[in-house]
Every structure is written in C-alpha cells, then in structure tokens.
C-alpha cells in the first residue's frame, strides 16, 4: 500500500509537471501560430473606437488568413501599458501611440520598424506632413518610425453657445473677450472654464497654448532640446503667469486638481461651465454622445502682445508604428490599409480629425471643417511638450509642478524653476 502511494505520488507529481509544461507550450504555440495580427491602441471610445472597429472588420473580411484583433486601453493608463507591452518579448504587430519621447525610446531600443522609405513614398497624402509637430513626433536620428493618424489641434476653446447667448455674451474673438466673458459668467455663478487636472495633462496643455503664443515653436523646441533656451526664460514664466492669473480670477472650478478630464467634460456638457479648453479629440466623443447644445469652437485666442499669435499646439496626436516582430510584412499592409483615403473617410465621418488629406472634406461633419482646415494649414505647430520631454520631466515634474501652480501652492517662477531643474537633471544643462 505504502509503495503504491509513493508511486502514485510520483505519478501525480509527474502529471502536474507535464501538465504545466503542456500548458506553457500550448500558450506559446497559440500566440505564434495562425498568422493573426494584433493592434494595441487607446481608441477606446467615441468616433475613434467606432472607426477602428469598422476598419478591422473590413480588413478581416478581405484578409481571412491574417485577421486583426485589437486591444484598446483608456488614455489614463495607456502610456504605461504600451511601454510595458513594447518592452516585452511579444509586442503588438501594430501600435497606436502618441509619438515623441516614446518614439525615441522605442527606436533606440530597436523596437520599431524604420518607416522612412514608406513615409517618403506616401507622405504627400498626409496633412501637416512637414510640420515641426508631426516631424518631431515620429523622427529619431533622422529616420521616421511612425506616421500620423490624426491632425489634432490641441489649443481649442470650445464654448456653450446657448449659455453665452443666454447671458448676453458674444462668442469671443480675442483673449480680452475671453476674460470679459469669464468675469461676467463668474458674477452670475457660472464656472467660466471647465478644467480638471488630476492627471496633469489638461492643465499643462493650457500652459502650452500660452507657450506657443508667447515663446513660439522654435524657442519651445529649443528648450526641449536643451539648445539655447531654458524653461526659466521669461516667456515660459509669462505663459505660466497667464494661467496663474486665470486661477486668481476664479475662472476654474474649485478643486481643479482633484477632478480629471472626464469630470471637466461633464462640467461643460452639463452646462455648469461655459468654456472648455482642450484638443480637437473632444469632438470625437460627439458621435456617440453629442452635447445637448450647440458647441462653438475656435483656436484659443492669442493674448495681447503675443509675439507668435499664430503658432499653435498641434501635432499628429495619434501616430501609428510597426513594432519589430514576426508579422512585419502583413503589418505594413495593414498600415497601408489603415491610412488609405477610403478608410480615412470612414474615420472622418465619425468626427475624427484624420491626417489623410481630403478625408474630412469628403465626409467630415460640416461643423468641424473650419477648425480642421485651420489645423491642417498651420505652419508653425508645436508638439505637445509633455510628450516631447523625457517622462521624468514631462509627465512627472511638469504635471506635478503645474498642479501646485493651479492649486495656488507655488508661483509661476517656482513652476518654471522646477521644470528647468528637472530637465537639467534628466537631460543635462542647456547648451548655448
């Protein structure tokens, strides 16, 4: 009996080991066989989610041997999730991300396919193809590693047309109009500008809007590159002062650093706030959840005396790259398909600011045409600074120091000093 028990135990142990090995083998085999493609994106809702599903469905119908499956992750956690996916041994075949420092990190590690030839052959199809924003989003050491999907504008001032009209306020054309409207709205108990900066980037983007107007694209890019400009330069501090002044005027909701982007959108769409300053991606949500009032949209008006009133924070926004892996050839075919005019028209119809020329004009809703045209024709476009800077500077110091500024806990000079100190540590001193 004892002998049998021991033998049985050994058999059981062996079975467990074999089962474990078999399970591992099956998992690995399952991922590598079948020839299917995978896409990782942050297209979780609104027009982009509808559009990518449509594109994948039509691709899968036409390519039954190389079907695409996707995994999408919400914006708040996407940066971390995509970096983790790219650092592993099984990256997606197609990656949508936001470019800039991620492009550099992935390219430096040999994780992205060099798309320079593809880009040179196809870039005439793209709006903003030669703009500094798009170029810096996708280029590393002179080579192109991603292509723009969207031509988003970042510095847009959306307004509740009915709320303004009900309070006798005309849509603002200048920055002075915005300030005057804010004073009037605040006196009536209405929040002038919806803002929720818990995640750091919505507030930072407002600062970038003023940076583009006051410093210009070249100066800001030089500060990013640590070439001749520092974050403590007067124009950067002045841009922070513009935001600080809005805080002092009480234009933002109380608890501005406790609420997130979704909360600030809710404030605007519920009619509690008259303005919201964010990017054109906000329009993408209108396809599934249109605001219950007419929304006006203009580029954020330039402050009086701004040296670069026409410089705009605009960039590719969503970019697509091909991670190095086993399905590169099929992934490249999917990239061709995804960026074709036919597919871009589907995306534009769903309120997406497609980077493919002619798509928005062909199928885009009429109320986004004007804003899109202004973006697509912009020359001096500033890439989002938080994404351009190394994460330790752009997504830690910039976000946190700006929260402190918005919360009234620090001054504009302290904000830019913190940013400069962090950049100095991460990137080294700015060279003349």
């Amino acid at each position: 009996m004892r002998r049998m028990t021991r033998t049985g135990a050994l058999l059981a142990a062996g079975t467990v080991v074999v089962m474990a090995m078999t399970a591992c083998g099956a998992g690995t085999g399952g991922q590598s066989s079948g020839g299917s493609l995978t896409l990782l994106s942050e297209w979780t809702d609104g027009g982009s989610a509808t559009s990518i599903q449509s594109t994948i469905d039509s691709w899968n119908s036409a390519n039954p041997d190389h079907k695409m499956s996707q995994r999408s992750i919400g914006n708040e956690d996407f940066m971390t999730a995509s970096r983790t996916a790219m650092s592993g041994s099984n990256p997606p075949d197609v990656l949508q991300f936001e470019g800039f420092s991620d492009t550099a990190d992935y390219a430096k590690a040999g994780k992205l396919v060099d798309l320079t030839s593809w880009w040179n052959a196809n870039k005439s199809r793209f709006a903003l193809a030669d703009s500094p924003g798009v170029t810096r989003a996708c280029t590393y050491q002179g080579k192109v590693y991603c292509v723009p999907m969207s031509a988003n504008a970042q510095s847009v001032l959306f307004y509740n047309a009915k709320l303004l009209s009900d309070n006798g306020i005309a849509p603002p054309k200048t920055y002075a109009d915005v300030v005057a409207a804010g004073e009037k709205l605040k006196a009536k108990g209405i929040i002038p500008i919806a803002l929720g900066d818990k995640d750091g980037w919505p507030g930072a983007q407002l600062w970038m809007t003023f940076v583009a107007q006051l410093c210009g694209t070249d100066t800001a890019d030089n500060a990013v590159d640590r070439k001749g400009s520092q974050w403590t330069d007067q124009c950067f501090t002045q841009a922070a002062t513009q935001v600080s002044d809005l805080v002092k005027k009480g234009f933002f909701p109380s608890g501005v650093v406790g609420d997130d982007y979704n909360a600030m959108v809710s404030l605007f769409e519920s009619g509690k706030a008259a303005f919201i300053s964010t990017g054109s991606w906000f329009i993408g949500s209108w396809q599934s959840a249109p605001p219950p009032f007419t929304v006006g949209a203009e580029y954020f008006p330039a402050v009086a005396g701004a040296a670069f009133p026409d410089d705009k924070v605009a960039y590719g926004g969503d970019v697509v790259g091909i991670p190095t892996g086993k399905n590169q050839a099929e992934a490249m075919k999917f990239l061709d398909y995804l960026t074709s005019l036919d597919q871009a028209k589907v995306w534009a119809k769903n309120y997406y600011f497609s980077a493919i020329k002619g798509a928005v004009a062909a199928t885009g809703p009429s109320n986004i045409q004007s804003l899109y045209d202004q973006t697509a024709q912009a020359q001096d476009t500033l890439g989002s600074l938080d994404l351009q800077l190394p994460p330790a500077v752009g997504q830690d110091t910039l976000y946190n120091a700006f929260q402190s500024l918005l919360g009234g806990k620090s001054t504009p000079a302290q904000f830019t000093a913190a940013l400069e100190k962090s950049a100095n540590t991460a990137q080294g001193p700015s060279q003349p």
Partner: protein, 313 residues
C-alpha cells in the same frame, strides 16, 4: 485528600511519545510541489529579479541597454525628495491605519459579540467592503469626493455643514492622506473584526462568569479579562493590517495618482511611477526593495515582540 507515600516519589507517568511517522520527500511532492512551484515562480524569482534590477540602470525596453550600477540607485534615494516624502507618507499611513483598523475592528467585534438585534446584518455590512475590488472602491470614493460633481459637498450643504469645510477633499494636500487612510481602514477593518469575533468565541465563558461573580462590571470584564485574552490575536491583527497598509497601491493610484503634487505619494505608487511611467526600472526596483525591507523588518520585530510577550505569560 491525603496521599500515602512510601520511599522516593514515583516518577510522573508520561505517556510514551508516539513515534513520528517519517515521510519521504517524493511522497510529499504532490502536496507541496504545486504551491512551492507557484511560490518560487511568482514570488521568489521575481523577488530576486527585482533585487538584481535595483542594481542596474535598466530603462525597461531592451536588455542590451542594461548596465550594472551597484548601489547608485540606493544612494540616489537619499537625494530624492519625492522618495523621502513617499517614505514618510507610507510610515504615517501604516501607523495610523494599523491603529485605527485594530481599535475599530476590536470595538466592532466586542459590540457585535453581544448578540444584539441585527448584529448578524451589521457583521455582513462591515465585511462587505473587503470583498469589493479596491479599484471599484477608489473610483466610487473619487466620484463621491469630487468637489464639482461629487455627492459629499451637496450632502454636507443639505444638512447645514457646508460652511464647515472648504469643499476640497482629494485636491487639498492637507486632507488627501487622511482621506486615503480612512478609505483603507473602512475597506479592510471588517476582516479583522471577523478574526476578533472568532477569538472572542474561543474565550471560555467561565472566565467572564468568574469575573462577574467577583463583582466586575461589564467594562471591567472587557478590560481585565477579554482584552488580555485577545493579546495574541491583537498581535496578528496588527501585523496583518500593518502589512496590508504597507502594500496599499490601487486605491491611492485610482483616487489621486499620488497627487496633488505628490501629497499622497507612497512608496508603492512612486516605485510604480518610476518603473513604468518614467522608464527607470532600476530606480523603481530599488524603491520596491526598500518597501520589501520595511515589510520584513516590520514583520520580524512584530513577531519577536509578540512571541516574547506570549512566552512571558
């Protein structure tokens, strides 16, 4: 009763100790093998990996870019003001949450052990938060505490307490950490309450009866009999609740991301942020090793402390 003895006292009769059955290792493998395998694969190996990575400058993308940097990451910790404040926040979090969870769970257990009406329902209510996902709890509290869209401010206003606060909660650097501690206590104290209730049931009724016969009031009975009898349970509750709070991550990450401006940063969120957001896997690993060392030291001291007290008794 008298006992007659003759000569030397007989040695006490001790029952012969049954011979312990010797088990051979191969026979034990099916029993301990799977658990040991998981333990080694998902705890020991990652642990060794984390300690190794803490000695490198790995950015998390490519092992070709990994360099051994010795103790550089550990010396850098001392010069990192966010790490220092995160360490302080973690220690405050653990100390306060541990005391509140222990006292709260003991009080609730004593009250619900009185067999009052609805005590079974209240047990279920107090335990319920423990089975809810920490992420869900974080999201719910985050929404409830929103100064613009939340429920708390209108509620306070409705009952006439609106003027008592400035309406800021998670966005107030002075309030954010206490709020996170209270959420952690609220979520977890129910399970410790159950541990105390189990221990209370095991206390012989005769002890309480003897105290009452000697004229002890109910409060004196609790203070002089019940609580001393719960000493070893209290040690376990404090140890588990302390380690529980040391590991806090999900609620902090969901509710505040460690903000505003690092006001609620704890070691786990700062380590995560460094490793996965800022691409400093080496530095993030060093932070996690510090957290691990604190947990080990805490557990070691606590177990020694309570073991020696138990031996004293």
């Amino acid at each position: 009763m008298a006992t007659l003895t003759t000569g030397a006292p007989a040695p006490p009769r001790v029952a012969p100790k049954p011979a312990r059955k010797r088990r051979s290792w191969p026979a034990l493998i099916p029993f301990i093998g799977p658990a040991l395998g998981f333990y080694v694969m998902f705890l020991i190996i990652p642990l060794i990996g984390t300690i190794f990575l803490s000695l490198t400058d790995w950015n998390g993308f490519d092992f070709a870019q990994i360099h051994f940097v010795g103790a550089t990451n550990y010396t850098a910790l001392a010069h990192d003001p966010v790490f220092v404040s995160a360490l302080l926040h973690t220690l405050i979090f653990v100390a306060v949450a541990m005391v509140l969870k222990t006292v709260g769970s003991l009080a609730a257990a004593l009250a619900l052990n009185e067999r009052l009406p609805l005590s079974t329902m209240f047990r279920a209510i107090y335990v319920m938060p423990t089975v809810i996902s920490m992420v869900v709890i974080g999201v719910v509290f985050d929404l409830a505490l929103s100064p613009t869209l939340g429920l708390l401010n209108p509620l306070l206003k409705a009952i006439g307490l609106g003027h008592a606060t400035n309406g800021l909660w998670l966005d107030d650097p002075h309030k954010v950490l206490p709020i996170l501690i209270l959420v952690d206590v609220w979520q977890n104290f129910g399970i410790y309450m159950l541990i105390y209730i189990s221990a209370l049931v095991a206390i012989p009724d005769e002890l309480g009866e003897a105290a009452r016969v000697d004229g002890a009031s109910r409060w004196q009975e609790i203070r002089r009999v019940t609580i001393p009898m719960l000493r070893s349970t209290t040690g376990i509750v404090m140890l588990l609740s302390g380690i529980d709070s040391l590991k806090v991550f999900a609620t902090v990450y969901v509710m505040t991301r460690g903000g505003p401006n690092h006001a609620s940063e704890v070691l786990s969120t700062w380590g995560y942020s460094q490793a996965f957001t800022e691409d400093n896997v080496g530095y993030g690993s060093a932070i996690m090793v510090v957290l691990l060392a604190i947990a080990f030291v805490f557990a070691f001291i606590w177990l020694r402390l309570f073991r020696s007290k138990a031996e004293d008794r």
